[in-house]
Subunit: 206 residues, 2 copies
């Protein structure tokens, strides 16, 4: 695989390709033309070819794409063909919702620990996974080497906890705390802005 320097917008489109191809496979569709793929995804065919060129092509022009092969290649590019070890900090409603969200497992993310500061929550299990005291974060990360941390903590503590997580060796943060995390670090942080799509919807109903 020749991965060139991939622009952010392309990286952001890959999960959609993956999701779409995975859905096709579930419907027993094994081959698709770039034209069809384009129509269904609302992206031009030339955009799709351009995107795939960043990863060395996947060739087969005129004959269409092999859906399974393409899905598996994209999974490998995304790094979700192997299990990605994940922890979750903040066992509130959103933390519960995410821990119970079966899709993450299907997509290769394995939740191995949940952390909170609430004494009543610590020691319980969510979706079969134990909730630990935040105090144990450092040791747990050292021992179990999770790669990704899901952050569902209150806004005012998000920055401090993110800093700790990075110091302890976390490789990426999926941030649901609605706080802009400002740290002097190369560790990627994906900020989730739920209200963006709600605003898009508002625009569309006008």
């Amino acid at each position: 695989m020749k991965e060139k320097n991939v622009p952010e917008v392309v990286a952001k489109r890959l999960p959609r390709y993956y999701r779409y191809l995975d859905d096709l496979l579930k419907k027993n569709v094994y081959r698709i033309s770039s034209g069809e793929l384009s129509k269904k995804m609302g992206v031009t065919a030339s955009q799709i070819r351009q995107d795939f060129n960043f990863f060395g092509g996947f060739g087969q022009q005129g004959y269409g794409y092999n859906v399974e092969l393409l899905r598996n290649e994209i999974a490998s590019i995304l790094g979700i063909d192997k299990s990605v070890s994940t922890i979750l900090i903040g066992a509130g409603y959103l933390g519960h919702a995410l821990a119970n969200h079966a899709n993450f497992e299907k997509r290769g993310f394995q939740l191995i620990g949940i952390f909170d500061i609430d004494k009543d929550t610590i020691g319980t299990k969510i979706h079969g996974i134990e909730v630990y005291d935040n105090d144990r974060l450092k040791d747990f990360i050292k021992e179990n080497k999770p790669e990704i941390a899901i952050l569902t903590v209150p806004k005012k503590v998000a920055n401090d906890i993110a800093k700790q997580l990075i110091d302890y060796g976390i490789k990426g943060i999926w941030n649901f705390s609605y706080a802009e995390i400002e740290l002097d670090s190369d560790v990627p942080i994906e900020n989730v802005h739920l209200s963006d799509s709600l605003m898009t919807l508002s625009y569309k109903i006008k």
Copy 2:
């Protein structure tokens, strides 16, 4: 305001512009050049000018944008300068998390009712808003005319409930149910795919 036929990708960028301009205002920044805006948002300056042209410009080249004016214009385009009446169907963990999410109110979305089928949940309040029986949906929508419905119900009932909501007069659906809703209707449906950004993060940490 001359609104042309706006492509989906531009409509999807507007909330980000709005959010970013709103943050600037909170930091008492009142004027910004398209160059700066471009750098901070990771979008080219020409892209920004092109996007704004769909809405008649906002002019002022060379002198920079008036942040407050621009934010207010975008809010008006998004339709969030007025209160958007909203209901939520499905008072599970995710429903609770969303109902408690103060940002929606700040962005003009007013939650006026929550619906569930669970007898123990019906009659309680979440974030001060009463939970009603799903059976009351039809009458409630007729009386109160909410525009948007947030769907946080199990996958297997999502399609049926969406159909009902549209029949009862809902104008747009914000769908968190991970089901592809397939209906013969023009009512816009925004599907939220949380795992997309998790996959992007996985890609970035590789």
